[in-house]
């Protein structure tokens, strides 16, 4: 919908004038409007976090149990039995450090792709920029990430590891992880409204994707000439970024950082436009 809002200087009390006309073609993203709804964004993210922990008995512990259990099973299977290389880093720390962004990504992608269909009662009853819903899921996931992060610090202390100076760039990689989750999430959120069977695709995709990402193994096992193909997976950049910032593990700059991050922006920008283009029909078909 093309909605133009401006302040009329002629009116005694300045009031916003809004025009509603059918939208045509590619429309602007209207980031200003999204900014004006930031309070709603915050409260929806707060709602998700607060409801999740109110409903479960284990509460906040859930954010710890999940990555820790995965870390244990990976350490036994891949670290001890399969003896996958972990580039000189203790395998538990090596895999747990990757599980942080991976779990965050998987949860945010799962939650955001369900966000519109799951809030059909809101979408059909009230107006707000629909993008607020998937974005709020991406923010809500940060709480779990922070809790799980504390465990990592504990593990590093146990192994007497000190984070490298790269840690100052960790926030950058967190933002990149958010953008990756949002970019993929936007595509699937919109597709999920259009095609109801997409919700069966997402869990499968997440599972499949994890093995295509360097969570349980190191990127050093990928043959050099295939590294750039491997780097087309946006999550490679995020996972390697976490390992670099926290553990000091290096990786080839172009194939393991630049290509994946470029892919994230490709997915994000195309996702934003696809979402925006589909947005006008959501309330009619949801």
């Amino acid at each position: 919908m093309n909605v133009k809002t401006d302040l009329s200087p002629l009116a005694a009390v300045p009031r916003r004038k809004t025009v509603i006309v059918p939208s045509k073609g590619w429309i602007s993203l209207n980031l200003k409007e999204i900014w004006s709804y930031r309070e709603l964004l915050g409260i929806l993210a707060w709602r998700d976090v607060s409801v999740r922990y109110k409903q479960s008995i284990v509460g906040i512990g859930w954010a710890i149990i999940q990555p820790v259990m995965t870390m244990i099973i990976f350490t036994i299977i891949f670290g001890k039995f399969a003896k996958l290389p972990s580039d000189g880093i203790p395998y538990p720390v090596f895999t747990y450090c990757a599980l942080l962004p991976w779990n965050y990504f998987a949860r945010s992608l799962g939650d955001s792709s369900d966000s519109l269909v799951g809030s059909a009662h809101l979408v059909t009853k009230i107006y707000f920029p629909r993008i607020i819903l998937p974005v709020s899921k991406v923010f809500a996931g940060l709480i779990d990430l922070s809790i799980a992060f504390i465990i990592l610090l504990g593990m590093m202390a146990w192994y007497r590891m000190v984070p490298t100076v790269g840690i100052v760039l960790l926030p950058v990689f967190i933002v990149i992880a958010m953008l990756a989750a949002l970019g993929v999430g936007l595509w699937f959120t919109a597709l999920n409204v259009l095609y109801r069977d997409v919700k069966f695709v997402v869990p499968f995709l997440i599972q499949f994707w994890m093995y295509a990402s360097p969570v349980a193994y190191s990127t050093s096992i990928i043959p050099d000439r295939w590294k750039w193909v491997y780097g087309l997976n946006p999550m490679v950049g995020v996972v390697e970024g976490f390992r670099w910032a926290l553990l000091g593990k290096t990786a080839p700059l172009i194939s393991m950082f630049l290509i994946p991050i470029l892919m994230i922006f490709v997915v994000l920008i195309s996702g934003l436009y696809f979402f925006k283009r589909m947005e006008k029909t959501f309330a009619d078909i949801i």
Partner: protein
């Protein structure tokens, strides 16, 4: 007076095929099948048939109107007249197909009470959540918080999750938040039809406060009493078009009068021109009430009589009757017992008991069926009738939910004193 809302040739088209979501796998499957049909010797028309018919419906068609500052406008019309679509476009939930709307100021829309309420959260938390969803800022909610709480009369349960609230408490809290929304334009859809009588009165009062404060209100309702009491102007929509607008009393009277028009009887004395074909032709269709004439209420048993000429001696015939409500939903389909008749006139009577249909407008269609499966003639809109609501014993005047409204047997008993928690205290 300057118009605050200007609506110019506003139209909204829905594609029936678009109103439900597709399956991606189905779509891909169809594509493949089509492709296979083109490549191989497969019948391409088969693939064509799998495409759903794309029926278009104009929910609004070329609507023009101006609404002035401070007006309280009632939007009336039957179900499917386009009222909700109009409100949805004004609240920017859905986009128009063509035309434009210009308005000044903030729009607050209440298309339901308690939008976004979360059952696990407490009353206090839901006030903030719901307020934010309705478009209030946090400072605004903070400022009005005490007022909202005292309006809702749920002070004691503020920190109880709303899942433990009685439905009355839930609605009171939800409406209290909504009532404190202070937009320049307020859009309200039938939300007053909730809560007990005293609370309804309080809400009506609050709405009147809103309008006397120079705010503009658009109010959709089936409750003509509420419309007359609240609105100084009424807009009547039918079939997506603006029928008339003007002083509430005049428009409401006109609307009620017009809506009494229905088809209770049709007769075709001339066999040659009667609807039908060389096998069967209709002679008469009528509606009979067991207790004589008068309006049909939800309690009235109704008989539908159908007479037709049969030119198929020896064939086993039956009449299949379809009853549709105003939304086009088939309420039921009922068959007469199949019989073999000589040629001549056959009469079939379908008895619809009282206390079955909900209030609303109904359309009757029939299919005459040969040999139990072969439809030989179908006619739509044979009869059209209205079923009216009756005076209720409960103090609640909203539209009764449901496609049908049967009177069912209930068994109720007290099975002992149970441990109560504070949230349950008000639940009856």
């Amino acid at each position: 007076m300057r118009p605050v809302i200007t609506i110019e040739s506003l139209s909204k088209k829905y594609r029936l095929g678009q109103t439900h979501t597709d399956l991606l796998s189905e779509k891909i499957g169809n594509r493949l099948r089509k492709l296979a049909g083109k490549l191989g010797k497969g019948n391409p028309s088969d693939a064509q048939k799998t495409r759903p018919a794309e029926n278009e419906i104009w929910a609004l068609k070329d609507v023009n109107m101006e609404i002035h500052e401070g007006e309280v406008v009632g939007v009336i019309g039957r179900n499917g007249a386009g009222k909700s679509t109009l409100l949805k476009i004004l609240s920017r939930i859905t986009e128009p197909t063509s035309g434009r709307v210009t308005y000044e100021g903030r729009v607050g829309s209440l298309l339901e009470v308690g939008t976004g309420f979360h059952h696990e959260l407490t009353g206090r938390e839901n006030i903030y959540l719901n307020g934010a969803i309705l478009g209030m800022t946090k400072t605004e909610i903070n400022r009005k918080f005490d007022e909202i709480v005292s309006f809702s009369e749920i002070e004691r349960f503020l920190d109880t999750p709303v899942k433990r609230y009685s439905s009355g408490m839930y609605v009171r809290l939800a409406f209290a938040v909504a009532a404190h929304l202070e937009p320049e334009i307020l859009i309200v859809d039938e939300v007053l039809a909730v809560g007990d009588a005293a609370f309804q009165k309080k809400c009506l009062g609050k709405m009147q406060d809103v309008s006397s404060g120079g705010r503009t209100v658009l109010f959709v309702s089936h409750n003509m009493t509420a419309v007359k009491e609240l609105c100084n102007r009424a807009i009547w929509l039918d079939g997506g078009c603006l029928v008339n607008s003007g002083k509430t009393d005049a428009i409401v009277t006109q609307y009620l009068h017009e809506n009494a028009r229905s088809i209770h009887e049709q007769e075709w004395p001339n066999r040659d021109t009667a609807p039908g074909n060389d096998k069967v032709r209709l002679r008469r269709a009528s509606l009979a009430m067991e207790d004589g004439g008068g309006p049909i209420s939800i309690r009235t048993p109704v008989q539908i009589e159908i007479e037709y000429w049969n030119a198929l001696p020896g064939a086993e015939l039956l009449v299949s009757l379809y009853l549709y409500n105003i939304d086009g939903t088939c309420v039921f389909n009922s068959d007469s017992s199949p019989c073999i008749y000589p040629s001549g006139v056959i009469r079939e009577i379908c008895h619809i008991p009282g206390n079955l249909l909900n209030d609303g407008t109904y359309r009757v269609a029939i299919t005459i069926v040969k040999d139990r499966f072969h439809g030989i003639y179908r006619l739509e809109d044979l009869l059209v009738f209205d079923v009216q609501d009756v005076e209720r014993e409960v103090h609640w005047y909203g539209k009764w939910d449901g496609v049908v409204r049967p009177e069912l047997d209930w068994t109720s008993e007290f099975i002992g004193q149970s441990r109560t928690d504070p949230g349950l205290a008000e639940r009856s």
